[in-house]
Amino acid sequence: MSEHTPFAAEPPAQPTASEPTAPEPTAPEPTAPVPPAGTSTVTDLADGEWHRLHPATPLFRGGIAFIAIIGVIIVNLRDRILELWFGYDDIDTGPGGDFEADAIDFLVREELIIVALLAALGVLLLLVAGFYFSWRMHTFRITGEAVEVRSGILFRTNRKGRLDRIQGINVGRPFVPRLFGAAKLEISVAGNDANVQLAYLRSRDADALRRDILLLASGARRESAASTSATAAHAGIGGILDERVHELLAPELDVELTEPKSIVRLSPGRLIGSTFLSETFIILVLMLVAIVVSAVLSGELFLLFAMLPGLIGIGGFLFARITRSLRYSIASTPDGVRVGFGLLSTTNETLPPGRIHSVRVSQPLLWRPFGWWQIAVNRASRSSQNGAAGQQQTTILPVGSLDDVRAVLGLLLPEAASAERQALLEQALLGSGPGEGGEFTVSPPRARILRWFSRRRNGFALSPEAVLLRTGAIWRGLVVVPFPRLQSVSVHQGPLLRALRLASVHAHTVAGPISPTLGALDVVDAGRFFDEVAASALRAAQADTSHRWRAEHQQHTESAGAASTAEAPHQPVVPPETA
């Protein structure tokens, strides 16, 4: 889109007759966030035209802080106002109030009060105008290829994300906007801080738009996208309040799809138990106990006050973690896995197929008696919104039983955790040694000096779909890297490993909390790992079509043709001469 000058003051004219331009209220209504009732609920925002955001956006984004500042000013001038109204002038303003009183006295003395009021009014008008124009200039459009956002008054920014590069779509509802029925849609593409944010939209629009974007991104044809977006009937004028209440209570708004059913239920007991048994929490408690003991023994009771911040910190940590995870849900949708978190502020993220670069299933030692596990993933995008308890949104399952782990793995990696791989996964999670069929290659006996307890658990297995790295006898862990996502593979050997005829292997994926490595393998096994993984990764990358995940069903012949054309111009690889 080169024809748009960077300082295009007006977005292109909206279509006049063809579309009922519902999301385009001409009058600025920053204080009336409730959308007018009776308009069509599902506007097709993904029609390739420019649209504006929710009219109350400035209020949600910065206006609340602005109102708070005005509140602070009013509170500070309270005495002044009282004096003005009740007319007594010997109020004891105290040492803090003197300066301010002097400033206002000065204004009164110099008869500048009118000027000051005008100036204040001017600033206020400027701010309101700024908010209005920033809302007006903040437009987005969604075409079949990309989602594009333009914003800014003086400094225009134009951000465009390609749809086939989408790594995830997040519908976030922070508490206050959620009360007003607004939500923000965050479209992440690969990279750090590479998100296209549509903040804020109407809640229902956000859900409809998410579905439309996913449909467009999936490679399904546009017509089918249009046909599925039938409009839902609106409740009418009296239904607004009803609808708000419903929106607030419904865990997940989806206009078209029947609400996807979460396959994991996180009981509050397990959530609280797992939080109390986490290692961070135990360390914090031990520190507090140490402070109490030292305070009592030394008789210096004021030390007890020193632990107040610590207590508040622990309380905040627990509260955040529990409320964030309380309404946890994970469900399968046609467009990928949907993970939801949050009690008051909710986030709901959809990860299209093939966007998960590696998966780690781990079990902290204290969770072992209860059979609890945790699942984290590596993703190519970094979301600005946090997941459970301030963890990055890489924790997909905060805590779950073995059955939950199986179900979630089946969603995250449908091929690598299919029914016939269940035995392998079982062996990978719980087993040790090479397994009955010798699926796992474990460290040789001479590696015991490096892996005291886990020598027989430390090993890898290669399934046709993924590489499985199993580690740890005490802190059990399993890392699964699907071959289509593997970037490269390496094998290392330092002097210590060489003396033991060992080597370590690394599978490289995008950066994240997981780094798939395995140490202390036999040199020959490591070499075999290197060769087989490199070959499988190549095969898988060529067969992979998950960037357009629905295209393979709809246009099978076409994609096959595309694959063969991609195959055709293979250049011979000739190494350049080294001079």
Partner: protein, 184 residues
């Protein structure tokens, strides 16, 4: 215990296989490939000069406590100097160990003698190729080529390529990556 026996039997089998292929138990990581592309021998000089400069600066800085009156301070400088001399001594071998190989669908890269490292990167995973040249390398007409994937840990950095080779290699990598393009 039967598992133990099974394991040791398996380990024995694998080491037997190793002896069968290499005639002796392999300690080192070995690759069947032999036709590695090596970096320019001039890079040995470049690497030695830059090691020498770094060593001189670090050693001088470490001698400051000695000049300020710490009697035993010279040992610090002497130790560091010894380390840098050793690094200088192994530089030729280290540089000769750097190699790359363009296979049909992936790039193989190796480096290190003490700390060996082999990487295989499919061409289709390439995000970009960088050529950079430091002042010393430029004086010798060399440059280094960096092959960047979406994984930061891939770390394929081929130093000491003559500039025309580096540019040729870059163009070729871009061309083959285009024909073998894979998603993220």
């Amino acid at each position: 215990m039967s598992h133990e026996d099974h394991d040791s039997a398996q380990a024995g089998a694998s080491s037997e296989a190793a002896t069968a292929t290499a005639e002796r138990p392999t300690r080192r990581l070995e690759r069947p490939e032999t036709e590695w592309q090596r970096v320019s021998p001039r890079y040995i000089v470049v690497d030695m000069i830059s090691t020498f400069i770094t060593g001189a600066i670090v050693t001088t800085a470490s001698l400051i406590p000695f000049w300020l009156g710490w009697e035993q301070g010279w040992m610090l400088g002497a130790g560091l100097a010894a380390i840098f001399v050793i690094v200088l001594a192994v530089t030729p071998r280290r540089v000769r160990s750097i190699g790359y190989l363009l296979r049909d669908d992936d790039l193989l890269f190796r480096r290190g003698i003490m700390f060996q490292r082999f990487v295989a990167v499919p061409y289709g995973r390439m995000q970009l190729v960088d050529i950079s040249r430091g002042p010393i390398a430029r004086a010798f007409g060399l440059g280094e080529l960096k092959f960047v994937t979406a994984a930061a840990s891939s770390g394929v950095l081929i130093p000491g390529l003559p500039l025309e080779t580096a540019e040729q290699l870059r163009d070729q990598l871009v061309a083959v990556a285009e024909t073998r393009r894979a998603g993220l």
